[in-house]
């Protein structure tokens, strides 16, 4: 894939970045990103990635727009209430970003449909809103060898990590950090969250996604935690759980293959 003159001008401010350049822009245009959850994180990530020139976006969400979503899910309006989030978001982005092929899946991801929904995706963005779905997305991504950028936000806390068992197997997967038996105490619907808090995490998630696609600096293998009250960011190096029920076999397979 090469850029035409019009695209070169359109994306000139991105191409101007020596870290991205024409190579990175072409990589974005060849990428297929699946976004699971078109809520606070997902609708912003979808906008950023479509605007950046990502070639194909699959938006997955079975939920409908509610007025209580509007303070942080900025692509939706009151007149969208009751309509499917993935479809509304895809329709609105399709009207603005001609370079992006938008696919809407108006269903929740589950064990039965996950492989089909994520088929051919080169990257998955976990923008979901509950722990069980996050575990399922991780399981499918590890199984199908798809890297994932995972973000979350509740109250004034945000977390961000990238899982890529090919580029960075020593960082492990989501389950190595947060095993499925972990208890979750807070949810947006019961604890509350501010629009910009979700926006900060969504912006960082979209930035990580673009960097991952364009192969700018290794960003897998690190956990970032953001506290929106103190504005403090903490970093930690991720570590693979050698007995992880999800990625242990996959990493072993890859190690055996390369030996």
């Amino acid at each position: 894939m090469s850029l035409n003159d019009e695209q070169f001008i359109h994306y000139s401010r991105q191409i101007l970045l020596p870290e991205l350049g024409e190579y990175g822009q072409t990589a974005l245009m060849s990428a297929h990103v699946a976004i699971v959850g078109i809520g606070g994180l997902g609708n912003l990530c979808a906008q950023y990635l479509a605007a950046a020139g990502v070639g194909r976006l699959t938006l997955i969400d079975g939920d409908s727009v509610e007025v209580s979503n509007l303070p942080r899910q900025l692509i939706f309006a009151a007149r969208d209430s009751g309509k499917n989030k993935a479809k509304v978001c895809a329709d609105k982005l399709r009207a603005v970003y001609a370079d992006c092929d938008l696919i809407a899946a108006d269903c929740f991801i589950d064990n039965a449909n996950a492989s089909l929904l994520l088929k051919d995706a080169s990257l998955v963005l976990d923008c979901s809103d509950n722990f069980e779905t996050r575990q399922l997305i991780n399981l499918c991504c590890v199984r199908d060898s798809i890297p994932s950028v995972i973000a979350s936000a509740v109250h004034f806390s945000g977390q961000l990590l990238t899982v890529d068992l090919v580029r960075y197997p020593q960082g492990g997967c989501y389950h190595c950090l947060f095993p499925c038996e972990l208890k979750v105490s807070q949810r947006c619907s019961t604890t509350g969250v501010l629009g910009p808090m979700v926006g900060v995490m969504a912006s960082m998630q979209a930035l990580q996604a673009i960097k991952h696609i364009a192969k700018i600096t290794p960003n897998a293998g690190e956990l970032l935690r953001f506290d929106g009250l103190s504005m403090v960011t903490r970093h930690a190096t991720l570590a693979r759980d050698p007995s992880c029920a999800v990625c242990h076999t996959k990493v072993k397979e890859r190690t055996d293959e390369s030996n």
Binding site: D129, N130, C176, F178, L182, C188, L223, R225, A236
Partner: protein, 69 residues
């Protein structure tokens, strides 16, 4: 000297020498199924807590999973 000084989420804490991370969490009255653990900037997976001893001046961070979005 059988006691060592460490920090847990920035607060000073004293533990017995060679005490495991798991024992530390139990004496800190933390439910093992409620947190992830970072020691000196490195995540320690839960399955390793019982066999990983605390060391003097360890800086331990405990935090829950954030799952919303």
């Amino acid at each position: 000297m059988n006691q060592i000084n460490i920090k847990v989420n920035g607060e000073p804490f004293t533990v017995s020498k060679d005490e495991s991370l798991e024992t530390l969490l139990l004496s800190y009255q933390v439910n093992l199924n409620s947190v992830a653990l970072v020691r000196g900037g490195q995540v320690v997976p839960k399955t390793l807590w019982a066999i990983t001893p605390c060391e003097a001046d360890d800086e331990i961070e405990l935090f829950g999973v954030v799952a919303g979005g």
